[in-house]
Assembly symmetry: C2
Homo-oligomer: 258 residues x 2
DNA sequence: CAGTGGTCTAGACCACTCA
DNA sequence: GAGTGGTCTAGACCACTGG
Protein backbone atom coordinates (compact mmCIF):
# COMPACT_ATOMS: atom_id res chain seq x y z
CA UNK A 1 0.00 0.00 0.00
CA UNK A 2 1.01 3.63 0.09
CA UNK A 3 3.69 2.79 -2.39
CA UNK A 4 4.48 6.30 -3.44
CA UNK A 5 8.14 6.00 -2.61
CA UNK A 6 9.98 4.44 -5.53
CA UNK A 7 8.62 6.81 -8.12
CA UNK A 8 8.45 10.17 -6.50
CA UNK A 9 11.25 10.29 -3.95
CA UNK A 10 10.64 11.82 -0.56
CA UNK A 11 11.60 15.33 -1.60
CA UNK A 12 14.94 17.08 -1.83
CA UNK A 13 16.39 14.69 0.71
CA UNK A 14 19.13 12.24 -0.18
CA UNK A 15 19.49 10.94 3.34
CA UNK A 16 20.83 7.57 2.37
CA UNK A 17 18.18 5.07 3.26
CA UNK A 18 20.85 2.59 4.14
CA UNK A 19 22.38 5.05 6.61
CA UNK A 20 19.08 5.78 8.21
CA UNK A 21 18.26 2.17 8.89
CA UNK A 22 21.74 1.57 10.15
CA UNK A 23 21.66 4.52 12.52
CA UNK A 24 18.30 3.64 13.94
CA UNK A 25 19.25 0.08 14.66
CA UNK A 26 22.62 1.02 16.05
CA UNK A 27 21.27 3.62 18.42
CA UNK A 28 18.76 1.17 19.79
CA UNK A 29 21.60 -1.14 20.62
CA UNK A 30 23.97 1.42 22.02
CA UNK A 31 21.32 3.03 24.15
CA UNK A 32 20.60 -0.27 25.78
CA UNK A 33 17.08 -0.17 24.42
CA UNK A 34 17.85 -3.50 22.81
CA UNK A 35 20.02 -5.32 25.32
CA UNK A 36 22.39 -8.16 24.47
CA UNK A 37 20.49 -11.20 23.38
CA UNK A 38 17.58 -9.21 22.02
CA UNK A 39 16.35 -10.38 18.66
CA UNK A 40 16.31 -7.77 15.93
CA UNK A 41 13.49 -7.69 13.40
CA UNK A 42 13.83 -10.17 10.56
CA UNK A 43 15.04 -8.88 7.28
CA UNK A 44 11.66 -9.19 5.69
CA UNK A 45 10.12 -7.20 8.54
CA UNK A 46 12.61 -4.43 8.06
CA UNK A 47 12.12 -4.29 4.31
CA UNK A 48 8.45 -3.83 4.95
CA UNK A 49 8.99 -1.28 7.69
CA UNK A 50 11.32 0.82 5.59
CA UNK A 51 9.69 -0.03 2.32
CA UNK A 52 12.88 -1.08 0.67
CA UNK A 53 14.47 -4.09 -0.94
CA UNK A 54 16.04 -6.90 0.96
CA UNK A 55 19.53 -6.12 -0.32
CA UNK A 56 19.43 -2.79 1.43
CA UNK A 57 18.40 -4.28 4.72
CA UNK A 58 20.92 -7.03 4.29
CA UNK A 59 23.72 -4.57 3.74
CA UNK A 60 22.90 -2.89 7.01
CA UNK A 61 22.67 -6.08 8.98
CA UNK A 62 25.80 -7.52 7.47
CA UNK A 63 27.62 -4.35 8.41
CA UNK A 64 26.47 -4.51 12.00
CA UNK A 65 27.53 -8.12 12.13
CA UNK A 66 30.93 -7.30 10.68
CA UNK A 67 31.52 -4.85 13.48
CA UNK A 68 30.43 -7.38 16.02
CA UNK A 69 27.42 -5.46 17.20
CA UNK A 70 25.06 -8.25 16.30
CA UNK A 71 25.28 -11.95 15.63
CA UNK A 72 23.24 -13.65 12.98
CA UNK A 73 22.02 -17.20 12.89
CA UNK A 74 20.06 -18.74 10.10
CA UNK A 75 16.56 -19.75 10.81
CA UNK A 76 16.87 -18.02 14.16
CA UNK A 77 17.41 -14.36 13.39
CA UNK A 78 19.79 -11.59 14.35
CA UNK A 79 20.67 -10.86 17.94
CA UNK A 80 22.47 -8.14 19.83
CA UNK A 81 25.90 -9.45 20.82
CA UNK A 82 27.17 -9.50 24.32
CA UNK A 83 30.38 -7.55 24.49
CA UNK A 84 33.35 -9.76 25.15
CA UNK A 85 35.65 -7.89 27.41
CA UNK A 86 37.07 -4.68 26.20
CA UNK A 87 38.67 -4.08 22.91
CA UNK A 88 39.83 -0.73 21.78
CA UNK A 89 41.28 0.97 18.84
CA UNK A 90 44.71 2.16 19.71
CA UNK A 91 46.55 4.72 17.76
CA UNK A 92 50.26 4.76 18.02
CA UNK A 93 50.90 8.20 16.75
CA UNK A 94 53.48 9.28 14.30
CA UNK A 95 56.09 10.94 16.40
CA UNK A 96 56.55 13.98 14.26
CA UNK A 97 52.85 14.73 14.28
CA UNK A 98 52.54 14.06 17.96
CA UNK A 99 55.32 16.45 18.79
CA UNK A 100 54.16 19.16 16.46
CA UNK A 101 50.62 18.86 17.74
CA UNK A 102 51.99 20.05 21.05
CA UNK A 103 53.49 23.06 19.44
CA UNK A 104 57.06 21.86 19.61
CA UNK A 105 59.58 21.38 16.87
CA UNK A 106 60.29 17.80 16.01
CA UNK A 107 63.88 16.66 15.91
CA UNK A 108 65.59 13.38 15.24
CA UNK A 109 69.10 12.18 15.90
CA UNK A 110 70.74 8.93 14.95
CA UNK A 111 72.97 7.73 17.75
CA UNK A 112 74.31 4.47 16.48
CA UNK A 113 74.29 2.30 13.42
CA UNK A 114 75.79 -1.15 13.40
CA UNK A 115 75.56 -4.10 11.10
CA UNK A 116 75.35 -7.33 12.97
CA UNK A 117 75.95 -10.89 11.87
CA UNK A 118 73.55 -12.00 14.54
CA UNK A 119 71.15 -10.02 16.69
CA UNK A 120 71.77 -9.47 20.40
CA UNK A 121 70.27 -11.95 22.78
CA UNK A 122 67.39 -9.86 23.98
CA UNK A 123 66.17 -9.54 20.43
CA UNK A 124 66.77 -13.11 19.48
CA UNK A 125 63.92 -14.44 21.54
CA UNK A 126 61.62 -12.54 19.24
CA UNK A 127 62.37 -14.87 16.39
CA UNK A 128 65.09 -12.70 14.99
CA UNK A 129 68.05 -14.49 13.54
CA UNK A 130 70.66 -13.74 10.93
CA UNK A 131 72.21 -10.52 9.75
CA UNK A 132 70.57 -7.38 10.99
CA UNK A 133 71.00 -3.67 11.14
CA UNK A 134 70.95 -2.19 14.62
CA UNK A 135 69.92 1.43 14.98
CA UNK A 136 69.67 3.56 18.09
CA UNK A 137 68.03 6.91 17.76
CA UNK A 138 66.50 9.76 19.66
CA UNK A 139 63.35 11.72 18.95
CA UNK A 140 63.25 15.26 20.23
CA UNK A 141 60.56 17.78 21.05
CA UNK A 142 62.26 21.12 20.68
CA UNK A 143 65.54 20.20 22.32
CA UNK A 144 64.36 17.72 24.92
CA UNK A 145 64.43 13.99 24.31
CA UNK A 146 60.99 12.65 23.74
CA UNK A 147 61.59 9.04 22.86
CA UNK A 148 64.54 6.72 22.58
CA UNK A 149 64.41 3.76 20.29
CA UNK A 150 66.43 0.68 19.59
CA UNK A 151 65.62 -0.91 16.29
CA UNK A 152 66.59 -4.01 14.44
CA UNK A 153 66.05 -4.44 10.75
CA UNK A 154 66.26 -7.84 9.15
CA UNK A 155 68.83 -7.54 6.38
CA UNK A 156 67.89 -10.82 4.82
CA UNK A 157 64.34 -9.74 4.23
CA UNK A 158 65.16 -6.13 3.51
CA UNK A 159 68.72 -5.93 2.17
CA UNK A 160 68.20 -2.41 0.88
CA UNK A 161 68.22 -1.24 4.48
CA UNK A 162 72.00 -1.62 4.44
CA UNK A 163 72.15 1.28 2.02
CA UNK A 164 69.47 3.30 3.77
CA UNK A 165 70.33 6.71 5.05
CA UNK A 166 69.07 7.05 8.59
CA UNK A 167 70.87 10.26 9.45
CA UNK A 168 67.98 12.45 8.47
CA UNK A 169 65.15 10.01 8.11
CA UNK A 170 63.96 8.04 11.11
CA UNK A 171 63.85 4.29 10.64
CA UNK A 172 60.11 4.30 11.14
CA UNK A 173 59.56 6.74 8.33
CA UNK A 174 62.02 4.99 6.09
CA UNK A 175 60.36 1.64 6.66
CA UNK A 176 56.92 2.97 5.99
CA UNK A 177 58.11 4.12 2.61
CA UNK A 178 60.15 1.08 1.76
CA UNK A 179 58.18 -1.81 3.13
CA UNK A 180 54.85 -1.53 1.40
CA UNK A 181 52.34 -3.24 3.55
CA UNK A 182 53.01 -4.77 6.86
CA UNK A 183 51.45 -6.49 9.75
CA UNK A 184 52.60 -5.61 13.17
CA UNK A 185 52.07 -6.55 16.75
CA UNK A 186 52.73 -4.47 19.78
CA UNK A 187 53.47 -4.95 23.41
CA UNK A 188 53.20 -2.07 25.77
CA UNK A 189 54.52 -2.12 29.28
CA UNK A 190 55.90 0.15 31.94
CA UNK A 191 59.54 -0.07 32.94
CA UNK A 192 61.82 1.84 35.22
CA UNK A 193 64.45 3.58 33.16
CA UNK A 194 67.75 1.79 33.43
CA UNK A 195 71.05 3.61 33.49
CA UNK A 196 71.38 3.59 29.72
CA UNK A 197 67.88 4.67 28.83
CA UNK A 198 67.85 7.31 31.53
CA UNK A 199 71.02 8.80 30.17
CA UNK A 200 69.74 8.90 26.62
CA UNK A 201 66.48 10.51 27.65
CA UNK A 202 68.14 12.82 30.17
CA UNK A 203 65.89 11.71 32.96
CA UNK A 204 66.54 10.32 36.39
CA UNK A 205 67.33 6.65 36.63
CA UNK A 206 64.24 4.76 37.68
CA UNK A 207 61.76 7.12 36.06
CA UNK A 208 58.74 5.24 34.80
CA UNK A 209 58.80 4.87 31.04
CA UNK A 210 56.37 3.49 28.55
CA UNK A 211 58.05 0.83 26.51
CA UNK A 212 56.40 0.14 23.20
CA UNK A 213 57.68 -2.94 21.47
CA UNK A 214 56.72 -3.45 17.88
CA UNK A 215 57.25 -6.33 15.50
CA UNK A 216 56.77 -5.63 11.85
CA UNK A 217 56.17 -8.43 9.41
CA UNK A 218 55.45 -8.73 5.76
CA UNK A 219 54.11 -11.92 4.35
CA UNK A 220 55.31 -13.83 7.40
CA UNK A 221 58.80 -12.37 7.16
CA UNK A 222 60.10 -10.54 10.16
CA UNK A 223 61.04 -7.17 8.79
CA UNK A 224 61.89 -5.19 11.85
CA UNK A 225 61.43 -4.90 15.54
CA UNK A 226 61.78 -1.84 17.70
CA UNK A 227 61.64 -0.90 21.32
CA UNK A 228 60.72 2.67 22.03
CA UNK A 229 61.01 4.28 25.45
CA UNK A 230 58.89 7.27 26.34
CA UNK A 231 59.28 9.15 29.59
CA UNK A 232 56.04 8.50 31.43
CA UNK A 233 55.46 12.11 32.26
CA UNK A 234 55.76 13.22 28.69
CA UNK A 235 53.81 10.67 26.87
CA UNK A 236 50.71 8.64 26.77
CA UNK A 237 48.94 6.49 24.30
CA UNK A 238 45.30 6.99 23.57
CA UNK A 239 42.71 4.66 22.27
CA UNK A 240 39.10 5.04 21.40
CA UNK A 241 36.76 2.19 21.65
CA UNK A 242 34.22 1.89 18.92
CA UNK A 243 32.49 -1.42 18.90
CA UNK A 244 33.39 -4.88 19.77
CA UNK A 245 36.12 -5.74 17.39
CA UNK A 246 35.38 -8.92 15.61
CA UNK A 247 37.45 -11.72 17.00
CA UNK A 248 38.96 -12.63 13.69
CA UNK A 249 40.86 -9.40 13.54
CA UNK A 250 42.48 -9.94 16.88
CA UNK A 251 45.02 -12.65 16.56
CA UNK A 252 46.13 -14.14 19.82
CA UNK A 253 49.86 -13.34 19.58
CA UNK A 254 50.89 -15.16 22.69
CA UNK A 255 53.59 -13.30 24.56
CA UNK A 256 56.10 -14.67 26.99
CA UNK A 257 54.47 -14.60 30.42
CA UNK A 258 57.13 -12.28 31.69
CA UNK B 1 29.94 -14.16 -24.86
CA UNK B 2 30.92 -17.46 -23.27
CA UNK B 3 28.00 -16.88 -20.97
CA UNK B 4 27.76 -20.39 -19.67
CA UNK B 5 27.97 -19.45 -16.01
CA UNK B 6 24.57 -18.31 -14.81
CA UNK B 7 22.74 -21.38 -15.99
CA UNK B 8 25.06 -24.26 -15.36
CA UNK B 9 27.14 -23.35 -12.33
CA UNK B 10 30.83 -24.23 -12.34
CA UNK B 11 30.45 -27.68 -10.80
CA UNK B 12 30.07 -28.98 -7.26
CA UNK B 13 32.02 -26.04 -5.90
CA UNK B 14 30.41 -23.56 -3.51
CA UNK B 15 33.58 -21.60 -2.88
CA UNK B 16 31.87 -18.30 -2.37
CA UNK B 17 32.73 -16.21 -5.34
CA UNK B 18 32.72 -13.16 -3.15
CA UNK B 19 35.27 -14.73 -0.84
CA UNK B 20 37.50 -15.71 -3.68
CA UNK B 21 37.65 -12.24 -5.14
CA UNK B 22 38.20 -10.77 -1.74
CA UNK B 23 41.03 -13.13 -0.89
CA UNK B 24 42.80 -12.60 -4.16
CA UNK B 25 42.71 -8.86 -3.91
CA UNK B 26 43.67 -8.83 -0.28
CA UNK B 27 46.64 -11.09 -0.72
CA UNK B 28 47.96 -8.93 -3.52
CA UNK B 29 47.86 -5.99 -1.21
CA UNK B 30 49.28 -7.65 1.85
CA UNK B 31 52.08 -9.29 -0.05
CA UNK B 32 53.21 -5.95 -1.34
CA UNK B 33 52.48 -7.01 -4.87
CA UNK B 34 50.22 -3.99 -5.06
CA UNK B 35 52.00 -1.32 -3.07
CA UNK B 36 50.31 1.67 -1.45
CA UNK B 37 49.00 4.01 -4.08
CA UNK B 38 48.49 1.27 -6.63
CA UNK B 39 45.22 1.49 -8.47
CA UNK B 40 43.05 -1.59 -8.30
CA UNK B 41 41.07 -2.69 -11.33
CA UNK B 42 37.84 -0.83 -11.88
CA UNK B 43 34.67 -2.53 -10.83
CA UNK B 44 33.65 -3.19 -14.39
CA UNK B 45 37.01 -4.79 -15.08
CA UNK B 46 36.64 -7.10 -12.15
CA UNK B 47 33.10 -8.12 -13.06
CA UNK B 48 34.42 -9.08 -16.44
CA UNK B 49 37.44 -10.84 -15.03
CA UNK B 50 35.40 -12.88 -12.59
CA UNK B 51 32.33 -13.05 -14.79
CA UNK B 52 30.02 -11.79 -12.10
CA UNK B 53 27.65 -8.94 -11.41
CA UNK B 54 28.73 -5.57 -10.23
CA UNK B 55 27.08 -5.94 -6.84
CA UNK B 56 29.36 -8.81 -6.02
CA UNK B 57 32.46 -6.87 -6.92
CA UNK B 58 31.14 -3.85 -5.10
CA UNK B 59 30.57 -5.82 -1.95
CA UNK B 60 34.19 -6.91 -1.97
CA UNK B 61 35.57 -3.46 -2.64
CA UNK B 62 33.33 -1.80 -0.09
CA UNK B 63 34.53 -4.30 2.47
CA UNK B 64 38.16 -3.62 1.73
CA UNK B 65 37.46 0.08 1.99
CA UNK B 66 35.63 -0.34 5.29
CA UNK B 67 38.70 -1.99 6.74
CA UNK B 68 40.88 0.76 5.42
CA UNK B 69 42.87 -1.44 3.12
CA UNK B 70 41.90 0.60 0.11
CA UNK B 71 40.56 4.05 -0.57
CA UNK B 72 37.99 4.75 -3.21
CA UNK B 73 37.46 7.91 -5.16
CA UNK B 74 34.78 8.44 -7.74
CA UNK B 75 35.89 8.89 -11.25
CA UNK B 76 39.41 8.00 -10.17
CA UNK B 77 39.23 4.44 -8.95
CA UNK B 78 40.26 2.41 -5.93
CA UNK B 79 43.74 2.62 -4.49
CA UNK B 80 45.77 0.73 -1.94
CA UNK B 81 45.95 2.87 1.18
CA UNK B 82 49.20 4.06 2.58
CA UNK B 83 49.47 3.27 6.24
CA UNK B 84 48.95 6.45 8.22
CA UNK B 85 51.36 6.27 11.02
CA UNK B 86 50.67 3.32 13.15
CA UNK B 87 47.30 2.23 14.21
CA UNK B 88 46.70 -0.96 16.00
CA UNK B 89 43.96 -3.00 17.44
CA UNK B 90 44.42 -3.10 21.12
CA UNK B 91 42.75 -5.52 23.38
CA UNK B 92 42.21 -4.53 26.92
CA UNK B 93 41.71 -7.90 28.40
CA UNK B 94 39.14 -8.94 30.88
CA UNK B 95 41.12 -9.27 34.05
CA UNK B 96 39.73 -12.57 35.12
CA UNK B 97 40.56 -14.15 31.80
CA UNK B 98 43.97 -12.59 31.70
CA UNK B 99 44.85 -13.95 35.11
CA UNK B 100 43.45 -17.38 34.50
CA UNK B 101 45.23 -17.59 31.18
CA UNK B 102 48.42 -17.50 33.17
CA UNK B 103 47.32 -20.37 35.29
CA UNK B 104 46.58 -18.34 38.37
CA UNK B 105 43.40 -18.03 40.34
CA UNK B 106 41.61 -14.74 39.93
CA UNK B 107 40.60 -12.84 43.01
CA UNK B 108 38.90 -9.55 43.62
CA UNK B 109 38.61 -7.41 46.72
CA UNK B 110 36.66 -4.23 47.26
CA UNK B 111 38.66 -1.84 49.39
CA UNK B 112 36.44 1.18 49.59
CA UNK B 113 33.04 2.39 48.60
CA UNK B 114 31.95 5.97 49.06
CA UNK B 115 29.12 8.04 47.74
CA UNK B 116 30.21 11.54 46.85
CA UNK B 117 28.25 14.69 46.31
CA UNK B 118 30.98 15.88 44.02
CA UNK B 119 33.92 14.03 42.55
CA UNK B 120 37.48 14.68 43.76
CA UNK B 121 39.48 17.26 41.89
CA UNK B 122 41.66 14.93 39.89
CA UNK B 123 38.56 13.39 38.38
CA UNK B 124 36.74 16.61 37.86
CA UNK B 125 38.94 17.71 35.02
CA UNK B 126 37.64 14.76 33.07
CA UNK B 127 34.23 16.33 32.77
CA UNK B 128 32.85 14.61 35.80
CA UNK B 129 30.50 16.60 37.95
CA UNK B 130 27.69 15.83 40.33
CA UNK B 131 26.99 12.89 42.58
CA UNK B 132 29.18 9.90 42.06
CA UNK B 133 30.10 6.57 43.52
CA UNK B 134 33.77 6.09 44.30
CA UNK B 135 35.13 2.58 44.39
CA UNK B 136 38.63 1.35 45.09
CA UNK B 137 39.38 -2.28 44.46
CA UNK B 138 42.14 -4.78 44.01
CA UNK B 139 42.48 -7.56 41.47
CA UNK B 140 44.54 -10.55 42.51
CA UNK B 141 46.39 -13.32 40.75
CA UNK B 142 46.51 -16.12 43.26
CA UNK B 143 47.28 -14.06 46.30
CA UNK B 144 49.40 -11.31 44.80
CA UNK B 145 47.94 -7.98 43.75
CA UNK B 146 47.70 -7.71 40.03
CA UNK B 147 45.95 -4.44 39.51
CA UNK B 148 44.60 -1.65 41.65
CA UNK B 149 41.75 0.49 40.43
CA UNK B 150 40.02 3.66 41.41
CA UNK B 151 36.66 4.06 39.80
CA UNK B 152 34.00 6.69 39.64
CA UNK B 153 30.47 5.98 38.54
CA UNK B 154 28.13 8.77 37.59
CA UNK B 155 25.08 8.37 39.79
CA UNK B 156 23.02 10.77 37.78
CA UNK B 157 23.39 8.76 34.63
CA UNK B 158 23.35 5.39 36.35
CA UNK B 159 21.45 5.70 39.62
CA UNK B 160 21.11 1.96 39.98
CA UNK B 161 24.81 1.84 40.76
CA UNK B 162 23.97 3.10 44.25
CA UNK B 163 22.28 -0.22 44.90
CA UNK B 164 24.93 -2.27 43.14
CA UNK B 165 26.76 -4.91 45.08
CA UNK B 166 30.45 -4.58 44.40
CA UNK B 167 31.66 -6.89 47.13
CA UNK B 168 31.74 -9.90 44.87
CA UNK B 169 31.38 -8.41 41.44
CA UNK B 170 34.02 -6.07 40.12
CA UNK B 171 32.74 -2.73 38.89
CA UNK B 172 33.92 -3.50 35.39
CA UNK B 173 31.90 -6.66 35.22
CA UNK B 174 28.91 -5.03 36.79
CA UNK B 175 29.00 -2.17 34.32
CA UNK B 176 29.30 -4.45 31.35
CA UNK B 177 26.13 -6.16 32.44
CA UNK B 178 24.26 -2.96 33.16
CA UNK B 179 25.35 -0.83 30.28
CA UNK B 180 26.53 -3.26 27.64
CA UNK B 181 27.22 -1.29 24.49
CA UNK B 182 29.01 1.76 25.62
CA UNK B 183 31.75 3.78 24.09
CA UNK B 184 35.01 4.30 25.82
CA UNK B 185 38.29 6.07 25.38
CA UNK B 186 41.55 5.15 26.95
CA UNK B 187 44.78 6.75 27.95
CA UNK B 188 47.74 4.65 28.75
CA UNK B 189 50.84 5.96 30.42
CA UNK B 190 53.65 4.94 32.69
CA UNK B 191 53.88 6.28 36.22
CA UNK B 192 56.07 5.67 39.19
CA UNK B 193 54.02 4.12 41.94
CA UNK B 194 53.26 6.66 44.60
CA UNK B 195 53.12 5.78 48.28
CA UNK B 196 49.47 4.86 48.14
CA UNK B 197 49.50 2.76 44.99
CA UNK B 198 52.70 1.02 46.03
CA UNK B 199 51.15 0.01 49.30
CA UNK B 200 48.01 -1.34 47.67
CA UNK B 201 49.97 -3.36 45.14
CA UNK B 202 52.60 -4.42 47.66
CA UNK B 203 55.43 -3.17 45.53
CA UNK B 204 58.25 -0.78 46.17
CA UNK B 205 57.50 2.89 45.93
CA UNK B 206 58.65 4.19 42.58
CA UNK B 207 58.11 0.97 40.69
CA UNK B 208 57.03 1.65 37.14
CA UNK B 209 53.34 0.97 36.65
CA UNK B 210 51.10 1.00 33.66
CA UNK B 211 48.22 3.34 34.28
CA UNK B 212 45.20 2.68 32.13
CA UNK B 213 42.62 5.40 32.29
CA UNK B 214 39.24 4.68 30.81
CA UNK B 215 36.25 6.90 30.23
CA UNK B 216 32.99 5.17 29.56
CA UNK B 217 30.16 6.96 27.86
CA UNK B 218 26.73 6.07 26.69
CA UNK B 219 24.88 8.36 24.39
CA UNK B 220 27.21 11.20 25.28
CA UNK B 221 26.65 10.69 29.00
CA UNK B 222 29.69 10.08 31.11
CA UNK B 223 28.92 6.81 32.77
CA UNK B 224 32.12 5.99 34.52
CA UNK B 225 35.82 6.56 34.61
CA UNK B 226 38.49 4.39 36.04
CA UNK B 227 42.21 4.42 36.62
CA UNK B 228 43.87 1.06 36.82
CA UNK B 229 47.45 0.54 37.94
CA UNK B 230 49.37 -2.51 36.85
CA UNK B 231 52.84 -3.30 38.13
CA UNK B 232 55.06 -2.98 35.08
CA UNK B 233 56.81 -6.24 35.63
CA UNK B 234 53.60 -8.20 35.81
CA UNK B 235 51.67 -6.77 33.02
CA UNK B 236 51.69 -5.65 29.47
CA UNK B 237 49.15 -4.73 26.92
CA UNK B 238 49.25 -6.32 23.53
CA UNK B 239 47.91 -5.13 20.27
CA UNK B 240 47.84 -6.62 16.84
CA UNK B 241 47.92 -4.48 13.83
CA UNK B 242 45.81 -5.76 11.02
CA UNK B 243 45.17 -3.12 8.48
CA UNK B 244 44.99 0.55 8.52
CA UNK B 245 42.07 1.33 10.71
CA UNK B 246 39.63 3.57 9.03
CA UNK B 247 40.05 7.09 10.19
CA UNK B 248 36.42 7.60 11.02
CA UNK B 249 36.63 5.12 13.82
CA UNK B 250 39.46 6.93 15.49
CA UNK B 251 38.06 9.99 17.12
CA UNK B 252 40.63 12.56 18.07
CA UNK B 253 40.03 12.53 21.84
CA UNK B 254 42.26 15.40 22.71
CA UNK B 255 44.01 14.85 25.98
CA UNK B 256 45.47 17.41 28.31
CA UNK B 257 49.06 17.97 27.19
CA UNK B 258 50.32 16.77 30.50
C1' DC C 1 31.30 16.09 -19.21
C1' DA C 2 32.22 11.58 -18.93
C1' DG C 3 33.48 7.87 -16.02
C1' DT C 4 33.74 6.19 -11.60
C1' DG C 5 31.85 4.58 -7.35
C1' DG C 6 27.38 4.72 -4.21
C1' DT C 7 23.10 3.19 -3.67
C1' DC C 8 19.05 0.72 -4.69
C1' DT C 9 15.69 -2.75 -6.75
C1' DA C 10 13.02 -6.99 -7.41
C1' DG C 11 13.70 -10.81 -8.12
C1' DA C 12 16.39 -15.78 -7.45
C1' DC C 13 18.43 -20.14 -5.43
C1' DC C 14 20.83 -22.23 -1.82
C1' DA C 15 22.49 -23.77 2.83
C1' DC C 16 22.07 -24.02 7.15
C1' DT C 17 19.62 -24.78 11.38
C1' DC C 18 16.28 -24.62 14.57
C1' DA C 19 12.01 -26.39 16.15
C1' DG D 1 10.52 -29.34 7.13
C1' DA D 2 10.14 -24.55 6.97
C1' DG D 3 12.08 -20.21 7.66
C1' DT D 4 16.03 -17.67 8.16
C1' DG D 5 20.16 -15.50 6.51
C1' DG D 6 23.97 -15.79 2.57
C1' DT D 7 24.90 -15.00 -1.82
C1' DC D 8 24.16 -13.55 -6.42
C1' DT D 9 22.07 -11.26 -10.65
C1' DA D 10 21.07 -7.82 -14.22
C1' DG D 11 19.59 -4.17 -14.43
C1' DA D 12 18.89 1.22 -12.79
C1' DC D 13 19.69 6.20 -11.48
C1' DC D 14 22.46 9.42 -9.14
C1' DA D 15 26.44 12.13 -7.19
C1' DC D 16 30.65 13.26 -7.21
C1' DT D 17 34.96 14.48 -9.25
C1' DG D 18 38.88 14.44 -12.09
C1' DG D 19 40.57 15.65 -16.57
Amino acid sequence: MTKSKPASKKAAAPPLLYRRIRDELESRIRSGDWPPGHRLPYEYELMEQYDCSRMTVNKVMAGLAAEGLIERRRKAGSFVSRPRGDSALLLIPVMREEVEARGAAYGYRLLERTELKAPPVDFKEAGFTGAALLLRALHLADATPFAYEERLINLKALPEAARGNFEKTSPGTWLMEQAPWTEASHNIKAVNAGRDVAKKLAIAEGTACLRVERFIRRASDNISMVRQYYPGELYQVSATFTAQIRASAAKPVRVAPD
